[in-house]
Amino acid sequence: MQASTMKVLVVGNGMVGHHFVEQILEQDMNVEVTVLSAEPRLAYDRVHLSEYFTGKTADDLSLTSAEHYEKLGVNFHVNAKVSHIDKQAKTVKTEAGDVYAYDKLVLAAGSFPFVPPIPGNDQEHCLVYRTIEDLEQIEASSKQSKVGVVVGGGLLGLEAANALKQAGLETHVVEFAPQLMAVQVDQVGGQLLKSKIEELGVQVHTEKATQEIVSGDTSRYKMKFADGSDLETDMILFSAGIRPEDGLAREFDIDVGPRGGIVIDDNCLTSDPNIYAIGECALWNNFIFGLVAPGYTMARVAASHLAEGDLKFEGADMSTKLKLMGVDVGSIGDAHARTVGALSYTYENQPEGVYKKIVVDADKKLLIGAVLIGDTSDYDTLLQYALNGIDLPEKPESLILPSTSDAAPALGADALPATATVCSCHNVSKGDIVDAMDAGNCDLGSVKSCTKASTGCGGCAALLKNVVDSELEKRGVEVNKDICEHFAYSRQELFHIIKVEEIKSFDALLEKHGRGIGCEICKPAVGSILASVWNDFVLQKEHVKLQDTNDTYLGNMQKDGSYSVVPRIAGGEITPDKLIVLGQVAKKYNLYAKITGGQRVDLFGARVEQLPFIWEELIAAGFETGHAYAKALRTVKSCVGSTWCRYGVQDSVGAAIDIENRYKGLRAPHKMKMAVSGCTRECAEAQSKDIGIIATEKGWNLYVCGNGGMKPRHADLFATDIDTETLIKYIDRVLMFYVRTADRLQRTSTWMENLEGGLEYLKQVVIEDSLGICAELEAQMQHVVDTYQCEWKTAVENEESRKRFRQFVNAADATDPNIVFVQERDQIRPATEQEKQSGDLIATDKVLAEDALA
């Protein structure tokens, strides 16, 4: 601890600059930290920048906020680009002319996109992909474009191409080299990647050197290539590599490398003893690290050096695993087998589009590199072999061969040494995790927040969970997922038991697998599972006792014990005649009427004994139950659509009605809502639904797992431009997979957030059939569709179940005197306790009940 305050000035508030701020504040020293950001905002998650196009806002991506920095006591200025450094006076000056003094300066200026010096590259629709402002421009430009070209077929270029494709543009990738992702992937892998990406409708042009961008004939621009060919496009995105932001260093005499980058030593110090450089602007050992994890390590090293600690930067692993347009790609270490004496093993499966290669050292003892295309399931294991120098098995090829009897088992969390790095972003080793758990952090969530593991790029999530689970197991902690005291099983396990053992009733299940008589938790849960699997009438004798009161009486109980009546109005479309019937019935039984948020009509104030009579009339007029009381499909909202609306591109009403009719009655762990919008204006608010569908020129975009309510969540884009048949297929699968695997009362949004692997995993299961269960899911859905019945129709036609709807077993004519109303805005409403005392009431109208009986 030193007495005087050290002034630390950070230039740049990118991911690494921000990480440095967090790290320096953790040191035991007296510092005053000032941050100068050239961007109009504070740090955000650049790694997940592309999610801006799938609905994340700048706020969602932010890593900090003004309030947060204020709380930490950090001074900060945005729109403050540093233009001068005075090393003698130890000050910097911004473009606006403000001067700041420092004791220690940290350059975390990152890099900028390289735009090849092609004549015509500075036109309005020639853009780059690095900041939120860039993305805003791309979004605006793509709205005025039909064709888009990405220049550069590296990791970022392909990510950018994906964004253009999702924006609905005809997309091309132009690459100078003979293959895609030349840095990470070898030539064979690059070929396979190219054909996979072309299958997805992105055209890849390799070995093309752009010479000039001129006006186009059919599109806005024409790109002319060195080989004489050309390509027409409306917009161009340059993603031809990054260049270190080292201008300040050059100008003010801090050493830079021959090909750029601010030279740093193992302490991240530059040639000036008071100036550090970290992140993508820094050059260490003649190497620039274009990933976030090495940048974070540099931030830790610089903070440690300032606090007189002894952390050193020793290089970093550049392995990557990612999914590009649905194609899995993994690259580890020396992917090109450039190490002297390196040997490689490859496995290629052309029909399935899988390519795997491992590179081993001359002794065949150590793994030094790998390339995985089309299947990255071995990535975690291979990375652990490479990072931790674990001895390879006798036959290294067993690591990548499809599992046969002599395949090497995946490297379990147990086999890892304590020093093994689990999370490279935050430098968390297995030992750190074990320590955190020893200190009492006994679940994944608290291990995460305590060690920060898996809160960076997220690549280590699966491994982290494995380590935590295996440690828990070692400690004899049984992760209790029992649904309640009556069944020692989770909902998912119960579902499986019921299906596999063909159990048809709660009693049978209880006898074989439970104890006691059940409770308010397991009964409705099992009732719901039985309904999802067998779809029997919910009020069948053996099921009655399972249902929550709302399901028993097929209506929502209101505060006074009366019920609401919500007939299905599929898609919100209703004929004038049916509207009249609703009015007539409401009038006859003196019910309160209200239009719901789900595009239908709710009638309130029905007493339990009135329900069958009301429903009888509604059914006769062609209505059926709306399941407003059930954990089941509620509504499919629609907008006007192409039939009437001048912007509509598909018939959203027709689609909504078909979809509502298909899934009505499907019981699920929680209620489900859907909506269909006829164009991108999204008037049906589909992105806030469990299943959201938005029409495109070519078909439908499908969104899944959105939620309104207490904790709103935007739905995730799941598939684009699919036809109606595919749409239904995907919805069948998503819903049935949800019904099978979710916890009780878990809506699709929380289900997805807890699903290991999240959206990507769900896509694999549903689109690629990675579990091989899609046919079964569809068949199960078809069974539910085929066995649909209107529960109210069955109930009113069945004497036994009708008996349930009486207030008293022994007094047919009596009504509940506690249900009383007053008049408000020309309709009834329940009387308050006070009003009940005062007596000026519309009593429960006996006449009406008799009228109904008559």
């Binding site: 009161t549 014990g561 077993v809 007094a811 506690n818």
Partner: protein
């Protein structure tokens, strides 16, 4: 405590009851929730007041029946109110989620397929 001057009233037939579920009876102007518990061959009827003192509505008979086993209490049968889910013990009337609250309990029995209740005379 059973006393000799209990006043048994026949309410309905056993087959008016629903296994492991409830119905409601009107006895001297009072609403009584009747529950039939069956486990294999065993069956019994339990009765409590139908008025939910927390939700302030006559709804308890529409609740779900549960068994609750505590650490140091014997197995209890309870009904969870359909309004706000508080559980009331079917034999003592206590609310196990809110000790301040309770409902009255009525002796009930089955005699010759008839369900009978004893109401205070």
């Amino acid at each position: 405590m059973m006393s000799s001057n209990e006043n048994w009233v026949s309410i309905c037939q056993t087959n008016d009851l629903v296994d492991n579920s409830g119905v409601c009876a009107l006895v001297n102007g009072e609403q009584v929730a009747l529950f039939k518990l069956t486990q294999g061959e065993q069956e019994q009827v339990l009765a409590i007041s139908n008025f939910d003192p927390i939700g302030k509505a006559n709804v308890l008979y529409r609740g779900l029946i549960c068994s609750v086993s505590g650490e140091d209490t014997p197995l209890r049968y309870v009904v969870a109110s359909p309004l706000y889910k508080q559980r009331f013990c079917l034999t003592t009337g206590e609310c196990i989620d809110d000790p301040e609250q309770s409902v009255s309990v009525f002796p009930a029995r089955i005699v010759d397929e008839m369900v009978q209740l004893s109401v205070a005379s």
